[in-house]
């Protein structure tokens, strides 16, 4: 993946696991210098407001370390539950599947690189 990190969540997440994920991810981004993080939640049947907030936090932490985040594969029932709860997860980019998520991240990283190159020294 080069400069991208792929996280696949395969078990139902409880609160402590989400916090561990956040810490792990922060360390991994720092160590690898990744520019993009893809989190695949297609196996999650249930996402509560705590987990949703945690994803928002992960995205913010990643951005501070100059990495973009994309959350992919959210199941319809999860999306409905989140909007019913009023959780919007602003600031978290989403995509329907891994391919689209990767395309999104690549485009974002390309844009940034182009901006960097265009800026005069």
């Amino acid at each position: 993946m080069g400069e991208f990190l792929l996280v696949t969540v395969q078990v139902d997440m409880h609160d402590r696991l989400a916090t561990v994920l956040k810490d792990d991810l922060a360390n991994r981004i720092s160590a690898s210098g990744a520019r993009g993080v893809l989190i695949d939640i297609s196996a999650l049947d249930v996402v509560d407001s705590f987990i949703a907030r945690m994803f928002g936090t992960i995205a913010q932490v990643a951005r501070v370390m100059d990495a973009e985040t994309a959350l992919v594969g959210m199941q319809p029932s999860v999306a409905i539950t989140l909007v019913d709860m009023g959780v919007t997860m602003a600031g978290v980019r989403t995509a329907l599947n891994v391919e689209k998520g990767m395309a999104l991240l690549r485009a974002l990283v390309r844009e940034e690189r182009a901006d960097d190159e265009a800026a005069p020294e």
Partner: protein, 292 residues
């Protein structure tokens, strides 16, 4: 009441065949009989069965209360007849006449058998009329309920059909909404749309509200909820079909549709969707129909 004085069971047993024949004749002669809706053989079968069940039930002691268990077979049969007549297209009066027309042949014979005893005759006539009235009214109740069931079922079907999701293009879903967008409809629309998004992996959904008569703050909230849910999954929505009155209402009420693009026509929304997917529509190099 001394039930032993009644001679209704006796009359029914002794004169069953004649009563049946006269009753059927009454029904056929009545202006309410519909030879176009039901064959005579079917009428015969129904009348015969009813009379038999009626006789069995009346053999019990207390035969004036049709809610008692000994009447359950009669009630069930009458219910069946009523329901079948709803489907055949009879009116409630026509159906109730099935029971009421039994009175004439029955009363004629009761009068003969009670000759000289007006009090006993009155007693039996009264019991018979109460019974048959109750059964006749029961057919009407069943009739009503059947009609209500049909209406309920049709309403449900209409509800299900009212929010189809169509694939306008590979990667673009269309969602025409007809009728008021209440919370019940929102739930259905959201579930349908999200399910199709997952199935097709379409990135754009165009929600067309041409068929929505009224948009107020609540409707806008419902729309935004649907858009947010689609966004969480990774798809964008465009709202199309905004009629001039709707546009004015939205501005007047100060409703905010957030950053969701809104277009007056489906065509406009489709253009936006194509652009988002990186597609362009243009003329082919050679006009269709021109010779090579």
């Amino acid at each position: 009441m001394a039930a032993s004085k009644t001679r209704i069971p006796e009359v029914l047993e002794r004169f069953e065949a004649e009563i049946l024949a006269e009753w059927i004749k009454e029904q056929l002669a009545a202006t309410t009989q519909r030879p176009d809706l039901m064959k005579e053989s079917e009428l015969n079968a129904q009348s015969t069965k009813f009379l038999k069940l009626f006789r069995d039930a009346i053999a019990g002691d207390n035969f004036v209360d049709i809610q008692l268990p000994n009447w359950s077979q009669v009630r069930d049969f009458v219910g069946e007849v009523s329901r079948s007549r709803v489907i055949q297209g009879f009116t409630p009066s026509e159906t109730a006449t099935f029971v009421f027309s039994l009175k004439q042949p029955l009363f004629v014979r009761l009068r003969k058998i009670h000759e000289g005893q007006p009090d006993d005759l009155f007693e039996d006539l009264w019991n018979a009329t109460v019974l048959l009235d109750k059964l006749g009214l029961y057919t009407t109740e069943v009739f009503q309920k059947s009609r209500e069931e049909v209406i309920g079922r049709q309403q449900n079907e209409m509800f299900q059909l009212s929010s189809p999701v169509v694939e306008l293009w590979h990667g673009i879903l269309g969602l025409p909404i007809i009728g008021n967008f209440d919370s019940k409809r929102t739930q259905l629309v959201m579930e349908t749309l999200l399910k199709r998004l997952a199935e097709t992996q379409a990135e754009v959904a165009i929600i067309d509200i041409t068929g929505v008569p009224m948009v107020d703050t609540l409707t806008a909230q419902h729309l935004l909820k649907t858009v947010s849910a689609a966004r969480l999954m990774g798809a964008e929505c465009i709202i199309s079909g905004v009629r001039p009155q709707i546009a004015q209402t939205i501005v007047h009420l100060g409703v905010s549709l957030g950053d969701v693009p809104t277009k007056a026509s489906l065509a406009g929304a489709l253009a936006v969707a194509f652009k988002r997917l990186g597609l362009a529509v243009g003329p082919t190099r050679r006009p269709i129909g021109e010779a090579a």
